[in-house]
Symmetry: C2
């Protein structure tokens, strides 16, 4: 299977330049001196998450005539807003299929970026998106299972190595695996001795189990849905799992309490609002440093679209 | 009176490069299309505020022998942490004089950066700092009334114009005036047609009144202390007022409710934790746009060190 290359990622970096924020690395004065820590705050992207990188790059890579007809995606989360935002940047229509049980705030946010929202029962999302794509001639933009999406997310790795050439450890949340596949693709090409470590909730640790077994394992969606980290409930595809097996040095798992405490820690010490999924890498740093090598560490804060009630609970803790 | 020049600010930019974060401009999708808005998130500096720029530059500009003896400053706020952090970066001692009524959390934060804290009654802070400086041979680093401090803060203006060359309006909180003096010095040198607008709380609007009168006016400290924006309670010096008169296009005043609402707005839409002082420019954008020209607008989010109780109140509103 062809993995994404550093050249793919470099091309993506040029492509996304007009819309993605070039996020800085934020040094953390409170970090362990043996493990100085920098945050990569992808929650500061215009839609509040890294997903804009992959979505915009994937739309940019469509043939011009296909792009002009528009795009379709299924997601209730950050990918929905990313596709909506990127499509508007190109001036093309976007249809987002959202489950009919999603909170109204997510529907509103997606519509605010100019997308048409179609609501269907959760199990029908993927098939409904495929059908709408066929009927209206719209290109499907998948959340992670596509080389162009992976290359777009990989630009984060390029930026990390550019800003911190002697980085030793990169901590990355893992869900479908598109983010860590891209980042590892960049980091391992440019700084092979750096460790790229995935972070999963204990309650959705299918990738940790799969990598230990040497093959993908399937956890029931209801099991994966137990974690509050709603951005970390997907499971790798064949393509992302191939990247993970080849490029990732290990997976650390974090508890729900650790996720919530990391949200509070980021708010208090880094003045960043992260969603639980986005705080997972910080939770790993704060609680499981023995599980990865010491040295100059970067934690990717992948998103900040947190339920206000969860934020209140975190800050009260 | 000699004002700070663009060359002074360019020198400061090279000086602070090792410690200050090169903050990006964050585009705001929710902004009025006639006034596209970018945030300059200085709350993401390592000490949570822009003050690191001026403090580090001022210490860097001391003669080597004076710097080696150490520095002293009086402040209970962001300047205290900035001087402590910058002194540690140079490996020199720092003494910070803090009023004995300051919250313990501020004392702890300053000590965490390696500084010695001396507590005295509020009215004695300045004289105590001067005396400690004389006795121990420490250089006093003032919070705003010094060309090197102003030039350091001015690097924010350099970065704004570099990232958004056709900027039309820059909104900057005003307290002692060091921040806006530096930013206006850079912006007016590089993009003279851009408007630089100060923002003050209604409850500490001495600078608005002073500029209207053509001379500094003095508000009693107890009056200025009424605003929750504890970073905006100082008043300009002769030096900063000279910059303000020459370079600043106007002052907008914001209410306490507007400050609190802007804190919430930044948390929800930009995933940034700002203190009320840091949210003042956003409050001006949201509520008083008629008071300044339209066009491409930058709001400087100057700091994020908010009292947790105030944050909770803002998020509940």
């Amino acid at each position: 299977m062809r993995l994404v290359t550093i050249d793919d990622i470099r091309l993506a970096a040029r492509t996304i330049e007009p819309v993605a924020v070039r996020t800085p690395l934020l040094p953390c004065p409170w970090a362990d001196p043996d493990r100085p820590l920098w945050l990569k705050p992808e929650n500061l992207q215009p839609i509040g998450a890294f997903k804009i990188r992959g979505a915009y790059h994937a739309i940019a890579r469509l043939p011009a005539d296909a792009r002009a007809r528009g795009v379709v995606a299924y997601s209730s989360g950050n990918h929905a807003q990313a596709v909506a935002y990127a499509a508007r940047a190109f001036g093309v229509p976007a249809v987002i299929v959202i489950e009919d049980t999603a909170p109204e705030i997510k529907v509103t946010a997606t519509r605010a970026h100019g997308a048409e929202v179609v609501q269907v029962p959760l199990p029908d999302r993927e098939s409904a998106a495929a059908e709408i794509g066929r009927e209206r001639g719209l290109a499907l933009i998948p959340p992670f299972d596509h080389p162009d999406v992976i290359a777009g997310q990989g630009t984060i790795g390029l930026e990390i190595v550019a800003d911190l050439p002697d980085v030793d450890v990169v901590l990355v949340p893992v869900s479908g695996g598109g983010l860590i596949s891209g980042i590892a693709g960049a980091v391992k090409a440019l700084r092979p001795q750096a460790a790229v470590i995935g972070v999963e909730p204990v309650l959705a640790a299918d990738t940790a189990e799969g990598l230990a077994a040497g093959e993908r394992v399937h956890w029931a969606p209801a099991d994966r849905a137990r974690t509050m980290a709603d951005g970390l409930r997907a499971e790798p595809s064949e393509l992302t799992f191939a990247h993970l097996r080849k490029l990732v040095d290990g997976i650390v798992t974090v508890t729900e309490d650790e996720l919530l405490a990391a949200v509070a820690h980021l708010a208090r010490t880094a003045r960043l609002i992260a969603e639980p999924s986005g705080a997972a890498s910080t939770a790993a740093y704060l609680n499981h440093a023995a599980d990865f090598p010491p040295g100059r560490t970067v934690a990717v804060v992948s998103g900040g679209n947190i339920d206000p009630a969860v934020l209140t609970r975190a800050l009260a803790g």
